[in-house]
Symmetry: D2
Subunit: 377 residues, 4 copies
Amino acid sequence: MKDVRIGLIGTGYIGRAHAIAYAQAPTVFPLKGNLVKAMLAEVSPELAAKRAQEFGFQRSTGDWHELVADPDIDVVDICAPNFLHKTMAMAAIQHGKHVYSEKPLALNARDAREMVDAAQRAGVKTLVGFNYMKNPTSQLAKEIIASGEIGEVVHFYGTHNEDYLADPNKPADWHCFKETAGLGALDDLAAHIVNMAQYLVGDIASVCGDLQTVITQRPTAPGSSEVVLVENEDQAHAMVRFVSGARGVIETSRIACGRKMGLTYVVTGTKGTLSFTQERMAELKLYRHDEPEHRQGFKTLLTGPQHPDYAAFCASAGHGIGFNDQKTVEVRDLIDGIAADVPMWPDFEEGWKVSRVLDAIVQSHETARWVNVDEVG
Amino acid sequence: MKDVRIGLIGTGYIGRAHAIAYAQAPTVFPLKGNLVKAMLAEVSPELAAKRAQEFGFQRSTGDWHELVADPDIDVVDICAPNFLHKTMAMAAIQHGKHVYSEKPLALNARDAREMVDAAQRAGVKTLVGFNYMKNPTSQLAKEIIASGEIGEVVHFYGTHNEDYLADPNKPADWHCFKETAGLGALDDLAAHIVNMAQYLVGDIASVCGDLQTVITQRPTAPGSSEVVLVENEDQAHAMVRFVSGARGVIETSRIACGRKMGLTYVVTGTKGTLSFTQERMAELKLYRHDEPEHRQGFKTLLTGPQHPDYAAFCASAGHGIGFNDQKTVEVRDLIDGIAADVPMWPDFEEGWKVSRVLDAIVQSHETARWVNVDEVG
Amino acid sequence: MKDVRIGLIGTGYIGRAHAIAYAQAPTVFPLKGNLVKAMLAEVSPELAAKRAQEFGFQRSTGDWHELVADPDIDVVDICAPNFLHKTMAMAAIQHGKHVYSEKPLALNARDAREMVDAAQRAGVKTLVGFNYMKNPTSQLAKEIIASGEIGEVVHFYGTHNEDYLADPNKPADWHCFKETAGLGALDDLAAHIVNMAQYLVGDIASVCGDLQTVITQRPTAPGSSEVVLVENEDQAHAMVRFVSGARGVIETSRIACGRKMGLTYVVTGTKGTLSFTQERMAELKLYRHDEPEHRQGFKTLLTGPQHPDYAAFCASAGHGIGFNDQKTVEVRDLIDGIAADVPMWPDFEEGWKVSRVLDAIVQSHETARWVNVDEVG
Amino acid sequence: MKDVRIGLIGTGYIGRAHAIAYAQAPTVFPLKGNLVKAMLAEVSPELAAKRAQEFGFQRSTGDWHELVADPDIDVVDICAPNFLHKTMAMAAIQHGKHVYSEKPLALNARDAREMVDAAQRAGVKTLVGFNYMKNPTSQLAKEIIASGEIGEVVHFYGTHNEDYLADPNKPADWHCFKETAGLGALDDLAAHIVNMAQYLVGDIASVCGDLQTVITQRPTAPGSSEVVLVENEDQAHAMVRFVSGARGVIETSRIACGRKMGLTYVVTGTKGTLSFTQERMAELKLYRHDEPEHRQGFKTLLTGPQHPDYAAFCASAGHGIGFNDQKTVEVRDLIDGIAADVPMWPDFEEGWKVSRVLDAIVQSHETARWVNVDEVG
């Protein structure tokens, strides 16, 4: 079996999730390639070495440039902060590496487009870490929609709300500044729900959005009386129109008190409706309007081995899947895609499409009008 | 105790709910006036007489003009189809009657404004049947918001979705035509959630909306192959900005498969969040961000005698309140308002404000831009 | 139409619910008799007169003996404390009145049996206020079970838990003493769930129970340091075997922190399962095992006009029914039963059967063995 | 760091879960020992070799006797069918190995006791795979109870219900026979909830139970008309009394239509209540009776990094944990326990205690009386 040698950059919040997925995947799935945890880069050689040992990587480096140039690496996996995604990906592509990047692909759609073009020219494969669509439950939602069980989709309501910046006394960090984060809740959270919308209902054609920075300044450090201006939005929402003709609304917030993992969607079709919240990530609610009127109702499907990709984790329904499991599905797609030389999705093109929707929402807000996503980037 | 003599026009779906409320109210509440079921009008003398007997009204008539002119009537209660509200109310006002009208107050904001002005000139009291805000649970929501428990409101998400026209084979009825219904889901359903939004968060200042008629034609009769064009929207949504600075989204649909009573709201504040769905009308979910992090979560409050207007129905929490109970609270407000000569709310002015928001959503849709509600009507 | 003249004794918690039901019923339902609120008895003439006026009764008395003997009364409605049920009912029967009594029918099965026999001898009709089984949602459960949709019932789990005595500092009241209340949680609460079990699954044949008084003494008054012994159980549970062969468990508690209206049941059949909680009294969860494995799940039915007795309250599903509505259904059964001279249920015989099950649970606890309910009373 | 060399026997349903946990654990947790996947045994050398490769084990064998005798194995991990647990464990102990066994520890309490004694004499460490108590959410429940937040526990209601044998046409397999499975639902499922009860509330002192085989015969093969008798119970329930004085009920079923992972509990204390269902394994509902009456309610805690063992999987609350994650916690306990030479729990003694409770339930059923668990085994 062909080796797929991974070079991982970054071991923070999401880098750690990647590491867990790399650990799990070969046992969970019959992978088509031999996953090799080849090299790991961090901001210092010491930290890199420490993490390499923890995560079972063979080699490590304090300089990511070394990693992207290493001849014994097949895939560069980018888990560094948002503003570094483009630089790292372009360097990796230049060295002919396949690239597996965390979302958002770039700080804006134009940058994302450059990355798509570079990857295409270089003939490398790409994958973006929109892991929530890999959740077996959301795959089931896709399957149900594709089968026509709920008819034609006429409406999509989706959110990705969390509350990690709800406390106004929480100091500003890199998420709050344009140079380091790009957008606020839109890039950090809404990227996921825009991708999910497109996965389930197809591409978004136009948007009309509204953004707001509610907590306009924050302390520079815990308890400090010195404050700094917050540069990007705390909350945003947009009306959207899909290419298919479906309409909808997307909302996002990083100050939505009480929402810890508020990725949710309601997909309404002409014959039925699906409802989902990631906080109950193994449940999908399905309503069928063609049932007899006295027996209509939302049915709670507990994801199980009859549904996509669940059986690999457990042979019994309702036993539960976790956050890292969806990342493990993503890693399966990565290894299989590269080993078997088949397309992967969501690729950089989808990453760019998501960025384009987000940028269009911002433009719409600034110009107080509807914006076609084609106008952007 | 002063008599409050009711003249009820119309005994369909909502007229019947009024009748049940009139039956219940004097036993449930210590009313400040003596509720007299004086007279009832229907489309024929026979039907009027039949309903008067069923509902315990003293007299009946097949001609509503007679009712509004009757000297022994204090309040005209209008439960006729939407397009008659204005005509009947203007006639009642002309005869110096107080008016209790079902929503929507009129087919458009300009008509509603005329009604407000006429009532003010005549010095009569008015009340509009936005009964969902009379639900003790939503009164509790208001109380919690007013007390500052969830801080300043920063976001409102509200829906009123149902599925009574989800079936494309369902024939067109009066709801589908502009002349009889005015707007579609907006007038029929969204009027409630706009009123609720204004009740909980204050007046809406501007809107940006999108409307869609999904099922563009319907049979003229069950099973008929003859079809007729549907003239108003099946679904609509709008971004809204409140006078207070809060932002939000409002959605409505009459083809939302599976939603039988989908009036819902999530009110997010700087310190907490409230979440409610009318399908579980006796539950309010409250989240407080100032609780210790390891004990944060949404708490399900079951409405009980410690909450507004519940004790009148039952002395124990969690025992449940029903649809007609909120109408009974409304009738209590009516009788007390008139008997004790105190202001009632939501009055015609609020009815006009709601119509104005709905009209602004339509204008916004037609002009593809934000519309200040002040621009309307 | 024949008059059905009601004589109501007692206007506390449950008497008030009766009054509301009397007020509502003639408007909600097309009754077969003419409901006359004839007379009301309370502990003093003054209170009786006051309540009569509030509840719309024609006459009143401070002496219930007068009421039961009154020739212009057809039905005696007993809403006095438990220990008076038997005395009042026997007196009413002696005067040839039909009797509508609140639960528990008596303080023990022997007394209940005497009441059954007396009523049979006198040829009067009887009805016991087990109102929760009148809830349209539980009627729907019955309908589903009877239709065979969930196959043969193999298991019943039911509770009636509340927390009104959870606070150990709450003073002892009449509920805590054998002479006034009889049993504790069993009589006060479990009577309902035993009736529901028998309604849904058929008669209980044998039981094996366990009782416990957790808070063994309570203050005599709020804040008092003087205490008194609690004489009956705070919590109890029992294994039960039905005549049908089904097995099950019944639990009750008056100190179940957090349960405000914890009447719940799960009925498991060979082909499906029903699940219900009274705190969401308009929802029934239905699971069908014969659905395809990948679409199995509990479906939430919102009670609506297609279900028993709901349409009388509202023409739309999911709009909600309240505590007093189920009492209104009960009053409909009362008036129709008497006016049309048809059997009513649950009658005194069912009241006795419930008492017999409760007494058998106590005997089982005292003798630490299974007890056939036939052995009792 | 000390090596902990694992010898895994069996790679079916639960053996696979162990393998996934072994794969994940070193990345998820900073283990105190070096986890070595040393050897794997299956029923044939071919299957063993195949699985060893899939699961990353160094060596393999078609004969488990070889594995337990291998000098380079520290821990024998028994994932074979129930009836082999004792034989394998005794052999492993004889060779001085630590033993990590799946539940139930043995087919009866007497056998389990022999295993406890053998392990003690040999001075080896033991661990039983009651993985549900390793779920961070149930650890949180334990923490809350131990802290006194809900006062003294007065009642425990627990279930482990599933529906894998609900279909009467499903052929009999090894679960249905005494020789291979021992008990039915009790051993297969209730073992978990009995362990959970003892984890949360302390040891059970006495029980009174009822068992039933509902589907008394089953086909020998799919579609076959030949049938065989089912030898053990489909459903069972028992009243229990804890050493602490708390009372409760435990239920189990393998024919509970609709329950896919029905391990649930409600723990009622004098000051509050906890409620949990494994189908929503990352949610715990907490009620505090000492909150102001108008703000009382069950609060939904989403397990997060502030709670035990969650942070190792994800740094954000509400993002979810899965079935294999609780097994990974168990493996952490195993490796740390052996490497650091500290006690592990639940050990064989707890395994024996659980078996004793299950046997006592059977004895109670057979003798129709309460049974002290001390009387057993």
